[in-house]
Structure formats: structure tokens, C-alpha cells
Symmetry: C3
Subunit: 269 residues, 3 copies
């Protein structure tokens, strides 16, 4: 695959420490022409699944041949492997802790390499910052077109985390709230396709916390200010929102319990 | 106008979600050589006027031919138009909700286009994320030199928001606090020129909340640590500050009421 | 020195205001090909020593010839000088307020210039934002290869801040906690070399707040979830951490008092 020269970064490092800057310094030392794009550095500390989901949502919007460097790595320095992964369009680098699970779907072509060739790493490897010492230089080399198969043996048993999927039980489809975005919108794991298949031509009844919503809107502005609504968000997942307000504060679920909270969809008779 | 190849981004998306990254991915897909600069993604959710003012303050420091992409868009997907705007030095793209009001001054040359030509957008347009689906690809094409007049019909009735201006009443000039910056400095809408014209050679008396200040300083360090002062800030607006402290916590105005709070300037006899 | 074309930025400006964007606009106006990397804009307001330490930790990871622009400048507009500094590998620009103190070590080659040549500045210099009006254009010119000795007279008396160093007293080595990172890890000023020299082959006893730790771990995952540990961090300083937790909340020191708090190392008999 021809590299795009772009490297995206996703970490739980925050923006106050020198860690992200160090990684960028290493990348630019290896590939001075790399164009680096921050996806986010605000992943909750150690939340591998949140990073996995965010990268999976964002990466298709980048040009073919982009390298995605993902470092949420609570097991750094332990026995967990360092890996690089190539699909038919993109490249990924990070720890083998499930952070690429959404890419491990059956029938999808992908090549996974256990990163062992030390000549692609920094000369000295710390025990606690493989983002800088292993993943950044590897990502930079991939962005230059180095073949990932040079970097270590192929593996076919990457560590995979179970990703919560909606379930049909009785007459309802049960999904979960998987993300509260910056606007307080509650993003669920119920995809447009699954919702369409389940509802057919019936209007929906959507229950989340205290709310009962009886239709799908297209835009936030379709309801009055401060009123709740359901819609299919820009990534095609069912979303609970409040027009010009924060659904996360209006749904009657304690804020600490929103993520993972159940959303029930049924068909109006 | 020859494009500079630079695109600035201003949104209320925050830095935790994948939204900003998606926009950058689209921009780089259309113009791989675009240089993207974040102005801020920390605009208060839906605060169109705050974005308008920030972009207006910052854009003149960029090279001629820079494209400024501004997405604070609570009405996304409704009837509000998508527009692009060209002045004699810069280009702007965003929703037609008043976000470019400070640019709509009489006697200023500007071309405004209602973005309707779908071939400049993404193939599929969501109802809730025109930043990604319309504005980002349009900005990228403007940065490549595509003429905005190809992108839709000219309009001359852009939506405009009233921008609070200082007023002279009796013997005083009344302005407002329009921004509290990161340092707690209170930035007013009283411009250096207006203040000079009003004061002439008289020394000022400046009242803000509990404070009464009787001179204009040039630097923060001109008063003791923790003491309040007034000065003309780096963007030439009157500013209330505290040396090595936060004026926002010392002016005797409840924090929720600072923005829009009155600042009175009178002439010492 | 051949410039790398990279400019890093470190400030206490935060990410909400237009200030950082303005500096980038000026840099790109002077050097359209500059590659700008944010180290952080989250330095505590006016905390010169924190900025000094962060830049000193991060800069060696950048290519030779990189320009580091550092603006934490509470004395802006006062008599404090503006300076540029060249070591044998990197360039630095900022106020002469001690922000480059860690670079002022004896036996280290360095050239320091008092920036006085106004033709390298913006035409109009504000009293309150030299980051934009002086430091950004100077950094951009250094990134183009302009010789810093053209920019003003050499000086050899830069302002220097005392940097806290560990001390040996009786049978113990006393260091300080100098940073709490994003993960709540407590970074001390005790360097790997100093610790090794002090301990020799003896196992350590490490005391910080309520904690007593009797060994050095290599990785966070070496202890159970929620358990405290000591290790040498990725920048080779002794660090107190909690596996999958925040040491800053577990060490029994009031959060306002963590920075500067004592860490005692002694040799187990």
C-alpha cells in the first residue's frame, strides 16, 4: 500500500505532559515530512475500548495509506505484545491489548505483525513508554513505506476484547449507551442498519432512563430548545440528544452510570 | 486570490470526540498538502458570537489567502444555509447563522456564496455533521484555489447577529465585558481608538464591578502582585486584569454574570 | 546549524483563546513551510519553572536544528529581556526570566543573544503579547536559518532560576516531587544516575507521604491493580505510581502540597 504520509495519534496522555510532544519529535526525526493529526489525547486513562471505538469511527475519513498510532497501554512493559496491522486501506500500530478489536471481524483481510525487530525501535527502550520508544518510530517507518512484514513475525491470534452489541429480546431491541460526547449527546451502539432491520416500517418507541421518545428526528433543531430527541447521528448510530442542551443531564441517569446504560427500542403497534 | 494552503479550524467540538479528526481527514483527502491550524475547539457549545469574535480577532495574523473554517452550528440540518465568503485577503466557510457578522461591515468588499453545488461536498451528507460533510471538503477545495463562485449562487443577505458596541451616555462611555480569557483577564468591547476619541487628553476613571481604576497601565507588571489594573490588551481592546492573578475572581461580579457586564469609563475632571 | 524546519511551542495560554493561533499565523507568514508542534499550552499561568522543566525533558527527542519557542512570560513588557539561545543541537526563543535555566549548565556550549534588532519582530510591538510580536517571528526566522547573532548582542548573564536538586543528608537521599502527570504519577527530581550512585548494590527504602516502598519496579503492571509502586520513569527520574490508579490521590499528601513534597530514599541494611 502506498503510504499517505499521514499519521494519526490517539492516546490517553492528555495535553499537559511532554509525552505527546516526545512522540511527535521521534516521528519527525524518522520521517521529517510526516503530517501528524491528533485524533484525541483525552481517552480516559487506560480505557482501551473507548480508544478502540473512537479510532474505528474516525479512521475511514482519512486517505488510504494513513498510519494510525494508538497508545492506551496500561500493560506497558509487561508481556503484552507490540503489534502493527494492515487492512486493505489503512495501517495501525499499538499494543496488543484489544485496542484494534473492532478491526478483527471475520472475512476482513488483515495482516498482523508482532513487532520484534529492534532496528525499527529507538536504540534504548524504556519499560514504561513504548509509545515513544517503539510505536512512534515504527509508525514513522510505516509512513515512509517500510513493509510491516519486515518488522516481525506474522501472528493470527491478536488479543480481542468483546465489543458490546445490541440484542433482541422479546419484542424489543436492547442497546447500550457507549459514549457521551462533548455536547452531552448519548451515542448508542445501535446502528442504522440494525435499527432499520428491527423496526421495518413501524414507528419506534425508544426508552433511555426516564425518557420515552416516539419518533426519529433528522436534526437537533426539529424539537424546541431544551427538548429531548432521538436521531441517527453522523456515524449512523442511534443517539439521544437535547436541542441546545445536554442529554447527559436530562435523561434521569446518574452521570457515573450513563456509559453502559440500557436503551430499549420497540415497535409501536 | 492565491491560496496560502493554510486552513484554520474553529469549532465547539472539544478535543475528546473524533469529530475534529474526521474533518482533518476529509481536508487531507481533498488537499494532501493543506496545512491545518486549530484556532480553538473550545468555543462554548452553540455560542456563535464567541466564535465570530475569536475568528475576527485572529484571522488577520494569517497569510493572505488562508481559509478559515468555522463550525458552531446548532441549527445544522435545518433551513440555515451553508456559505463561503471571500474578502480581499481571506476566505471563510461555515453556516449562515451570524458567525461571520463582524465581517459584514459596510464599505468592506466581500463575496458571499450560498454553497449548493453538491459535487464539492462529500457524496453522502448527514443531517447533523455538515462540518465534516460540507464545510471541510469545501474549505479544502478553496485551499486548492477552486473559485468560490463555482460553488453556488451569490447572495447579499447573509444572516447577521447584532454585535454589542460601546455607547456614550451622559458623561460616560459604557462598554461590556465580552470575554474572560485563560488568565482571567476581562476583555471589553471598548477599542483603543474609541477610548482615545472619548477621553481626549483627560485621564480615565474606569469602573467594573467593585473596581475603580484611575489610569491605564502598559504592562501587567506595572502594579504589585495581586493588584488590579486596566490596560489596552494585545488586540487593542480595554482589558481589566490582576497582575499575577485572575481579575475574573477579583472584580466583585458573580462569575456567571461577567460576560455582558457593564464597564463604565468617564473622564477625570 | 542547519534548521530542521520544526518549531515547538510551549505556553501557559490554554487552548480557548486566539493567542496560540495568532502565533502560528505569524510563524506561517514568515516561514510558510514551518512544521509547528505543540508541546503544551497547559503550563500553569506564570509557572516558569514548570515550563523550563517540560521543555528540557522533551527537546532532545526532536531533530537537531529544531527551534523551541517558550512563552511563559508574566513580566511581559517590563524590563526583562527577550532572548534566543543556541546549543550545539537546538535553538530556543523566549523571555529572559529563567525559563531556560536547565540549559545553563557549566561546560555546556551555548550562545545567547539579547533580541534587540526590531527588523526581525512584527512592525508594531504590543506591551502584553511578545509571544506574537517578538518571539514568534524570531522563531520563524531561526527556522529559516537566519543566524541568531544577527538579532542582537551576545550576553553571558542570562537570568537563572535555582532548580531544586536532591540532597544527601545523613544516611538518606532527599528529593522532591516536581510534577504530577496526567496519570497521577508523581515524578521526582531524583535521576537514575544519582539513585544508582547513592544506592550502590543496596535495595532501596523509598518514603513519600504515607508510603514506604521497598523495591524498584520496572513496569506498572508488576504490582496488583490499585497498589503503589516506585520505578524509574521514561525520562529516567524516580517516580511514584499506582497501577491502574492515581498515586496523587493515594500517597497521603494533600493535593495542594504534592509539588515540592519530600521523597526520602535510604539503603536497606
Amino acid at each position: 500500500m502506498k503510504p499517505s504520509g499521514i499519521i494519526t495519534l490517539t492516546t490517553d496522555f492528555g495535553l499537559s505532559d511532554p509525552y505527546v510532544g516526545m512522540m511527535k519529535g521521534i516521528i519527525l526525526s524518522v520521517n521529517p515530512d510526516a503530517r501528524i493529526v491528533d485524533l484525541t489525547h483525552q481517552i480516559e486513562a487506560g480505557d482501551v475500548l473507548q480508544a478502540a471505538s473512537l479510532v474505528h469511527e474516525a479512521y475511514p475519513f482519512f486517505p488510504k495509506g494513513t498510519v494510525h498510532l494508538v497508545v492506551v497501554d496500561p500493560g506497558v512493559g509487561s508481556e503484552r505484545r507490540a503489534i502493527a496491522l494492515e487492512t486493505d486501506t489503512h495501517l495501525f500500530v499499538g499494543p496488543d491489548n484489544g485496542i484494534f478489536s473492532p478491526l478483527f471481524q471475520p472475512h476482513k483481510k488483515r495482516t498482523i505483525v508482532h513487532l520484534t525487530e529492534r532496528k525499527y525501535f529507538l536504540p534504548s527502550i524504556s519499560h514504561t513508554f513504548h509509545g515513544r520508544d517503539i510505536f512512534a518510530p515504527v509508525a514513522a517507518r510505516l509512513s515512509l513505506g517500510v513493509d510491516l512484514e519486515m518488522m516481525g513475525p506474522l501472528i493470527d491470534d491478536p488479543f480481542s476484547l468483546p465489543i458490546p452489541r445490541p440484542k433482541e429480546k422479546g419484542k424489543s431491541l436492547y442497546g447500550q449507551i457507549v459514549r457521551v460526547d462533548h455536547f452531552g449527546n448519548l451515542v448508542t451502539n445501535i446502528h442504522r442498519k440494525e435499527l432499520g432491520r428491527f423496526l421495518g416500517s413501524a414507528p419506534p418507541i425508544i426508552r433511555a432512563g426516564d425518557l420515552v421518545l416516539r419518533r426519529l428526528c433528522h436534526t437537533y433543531a426539529e424539537v424546541g430548545e431544551g427538548e429531548p430527541l432521538a436521531l441517527l447521528g453522523s456515524s449512523n448510530f442511534l443517539e439521544i440528544a437535547v436541542n441546545l442542551g445536554r442529554a447527559s443531564e436530562n435523561v434521569g441517569i446518574h452521570s457515573g452510570e450513563i456509559i453502559g446504560s440500557e436503551v430499549e427500542v420497540s415497535r409501536a403497534e
